[in-house]
Symmetry: C2
Subunit: 440 residues, 2 copies
């Protein structure tokens, strides 16, 4: 990515133009199936801007009978503006991701109604009364089904796009398609894997966390661990990932969970998606320490968060293994004919268990890397930003960074879920000095 000052917006999609609200109404008017969802005629429809993420224009359009969500990729990063150009082709990949997984994840994702490649314009199911999970976590609201649902979502999406779930020809066609989604992947690579460990104009962090940022820039062992996982992220095409599965990409009610925003979709290690979600739950846990809230209530909510991390992993593990056992001949990874007799069946059981153990190790490392990027890189999170007292904010962030450093530098201490859960409270008092005993 070039420095902002030297970049220029260019558009490579023929026919592309940025749609106004009136344009969006006009586009929808031409889609009878979508218009039927809204009911009435265009003059009855209301449109409002609901853009919340960093990247795209997003609107809700509502009519007498119902509503839809309309989304357009812009040729720049919406949050930053035109001085950060970005290929507008990314809605293509979000639509491809929704199409590829539509038959697999069922009601865990919104329905895709329409995709226009020349406008990079998507119309999908409106989610109402769902809210963004991140906001719910900040408010201390409990959504008891979300972690299990996300675990099931990742298990299903990953299995059915991996060498366990499909012949490799299917996987390679998918790989071919999603490998072209590299304009946004440059953002992932830079913001997640490179920027936090160097001084760069995009990094944003409060001065109080500066000693930690400096310590990370100088920590060769930490950067080595990050390098190992950056290379795995770039080289391991294990399954189709969501690629940005944080708590802002999940919409919830008490009963329902919907995963949205697949524009970062890419093939990579399954632990990357799981780690992203865990990182954001961990961030929610630490951020609670900076909120003015009744201590007993806070402790109970934190216990709920830890419980959700446990549920995410145990659900993923159970569902993924169940899919594999139910579909022993679906892919080329472990052909049923090679493990047909009793000895083979016993070995396959061990292989499966080793396979998910390796995913857990990846989860731990990618979770740590994701925690770090949310503190000392460009894309900050509301969990911390709502803490106005910057010392309290930095203290909450420091715990997150201390945990992340330990996860990356001492993976042998975190062989299983219990070890990970135990570690989270242990780093709460890490403090602003990265060399203090409490930070180790």
């Amino acid at each position: 990515m070039s420095a902002a000052t030297t970049s220029a917006v260019t558009i490579s999609t023929p026919g592309y133009r940025v749609l106004s609200q009136a344009d969006i109404i006009a586009e929808i008017e031409r889609l009878p199936d979508v218009a039927a969802i809204l009911g009435g005629t265009a003059s009855d429809w209301r449109i409002r801007d609901v853009a919340d993420g960093y990247m795209n224009a997003v609107f809700i359009v509502e009519g007498p009978d119902g509503g839809v969500c309309a989304k357009q990729s812009l040729p720049w990063v919406r949050y930053h503006g035109e001085s950060w150009p970005l290929s507008e082709n990314r809605a293509s990949f979000e639509a491809s991701y929704m199409k590829r997984l539509g038959g697999v994840v069922g009601e865990l994702a919104p329905k895709l109604y329409h995709f226009d490649p020349s406008l990079q314009f998507i119309v999908m199911q409106q989610l109402t009364p769902h809210i963004i999970l991140r906001g719910g976590l900040i408010e201390g609201r409990r959504f008891p089904k979300v972690a299990g649902d996300v675990g099931r979502y990742v298990a299903t999406a990953a299995f059915h796009t991996s060498d366990l779930g499909v012949p490799f020809e299917t996987k390679f066609e998918d790989v071919s398609l999603f490998a072209r989604n590299h304009a946004v992947l440059r953002i992932s690579v830079d913001l997640i894997f490179i920027d936090p460990y160097v001084e760069v104009w995009r990094n944003r962090f409060i001065p109080e966390i500066g000693a930690w940022a400096r310590a990370f820039r100088e920590d060769v062992a930490l950067k080595t661990a990050v390098a190992r996982h950056r290379n795995a992220f770039l080289s391991n095409r294990q399954a189709l990932l969501h690629g940005d599965l944080h708590s802002g990409s999940v919409m919830v009610t008490e009963d329902e969970t919907r995963v949205i925003d697949g524009e970062f979709s890419t093939f990579g290690p399954i632990g990357f998606d799981l780690g992203a979600f865990v990182a954001n739950l961990v961030i929610a846990w630490y951020a609670q320490g900076g909120y003015d809230r009744d201590p007993a209530e806070r402790d109970a909510f934190r216990a709920f968060i830890l419980d959700q991390i446990a549920t995410l992993w145990t659900t993923f593990r159970r569902e993924f293994l169940a899919l594999w056992e139910a579909n022993p001949a679906a892919g080329d990874g472990y052909p049923a004919t090679h493990f047909a007799d009793a000895a083979g069946a016993a070995r396959l059981s061990t292989i499966r268990s080793d396979f998910v153990d390796a995913i857990f190790r990846d989860l731990v490392a990618f979770a740590a890397i994701k925690m770090i990027r949310r503190v000392i890189s460009y894309a900050q999170v509301a969990d911390f930003m709502v803490i106005e007292d910057t010392v309290r904010r930095a203290e909450a962030q420091a715990g997150t960074l201390a945990l992340a450093r330990s996860l990356l530098k001492h993976p042998e201490r975190y062989p299983d879920l219990g070890a990970l859960l135990d570690a989270i409270p242990r780093f709460e008092r890490a403090g602003l000095d990265p060399d203090a005993p409490s930070a180790r």
Copy 2:
């Protein structure tokens, strides 16, 4: 791949037809640059069929001034016939491979003169007086530069298509292109990684080696090791591979080496290409035991083969590390900014050394897997086939299989080149009983 009896030839390339020799002359007549290489006019040109591999139609066309090699993909496996259909699109990938590496490997590959996508027809530099390396090895001829040249070829091709040598955007565009080359990859997956461990119509081996084949089908630990590497082959997009780098894909003179036949090109682990070449040198070593040749001469030639294996690895290692050191900021794998100070530089040196050590471990495993497929799967090799006495042939093959089994099941015994070279003679007397002490 379906069983032969249920398959039917289909053609998906518009305009495709199988070219006769007269058609090829007519095609070349329309290419002024190629016609100029031949000299004279079409009536002066001679064409002859030189197809040697399993897959394609290959001709040499010669005129008064020079010659070219013309190659067309057929919609079936040439060696097997129309009862084994295969997508004819594979010349596209061979041409793409030649184009992608043309500026990188220089004179180590023939020049591409012309590619016609609708005919899946390639015209390239004629290699003369080069011979196929496999034939030279069978005759006991020494080509002193080949192993070093192949080591340099793999180092260069791998580095410049990996996350060390190019930004990941470049790599992902390449990944996207070559991931579509899966029709031939099905052949690799089946014949190399699946067939040798099951009973299937395509397997061809002499009855004398039947006890070994059965032992391999029943060896759960062996199949587990193969599974691990099959999954790495399918999931690790480390670099662009040749994909079929055996001694039939290398043409030589005493002074020159040319790598040909890139139609199996795919992204995968670098050790796969190195392992393929090592496997075929190892096969040549064992096969020598079945040839009637003066013992002293045989021992000397075998020493030469071991020396070539050593040269391949040491050259690859030296050249690959030199490229990495000379291009520290070329890719996203290990950003120079993360390892800029003295501690970082020291660590990067360790990282590089670990990186090539991991490639060596892959080399050992993939070499073993490639040895096995050349004995108990479809595509047999001339090195063994020229041994008419099937007991002697099986004895040579048994040594190869015994070594391969040990390499796969006991990788800890083969941490370095010396251990690998020492092991080759040790299994020469393995014998036809896979359970005999000599076979362990």
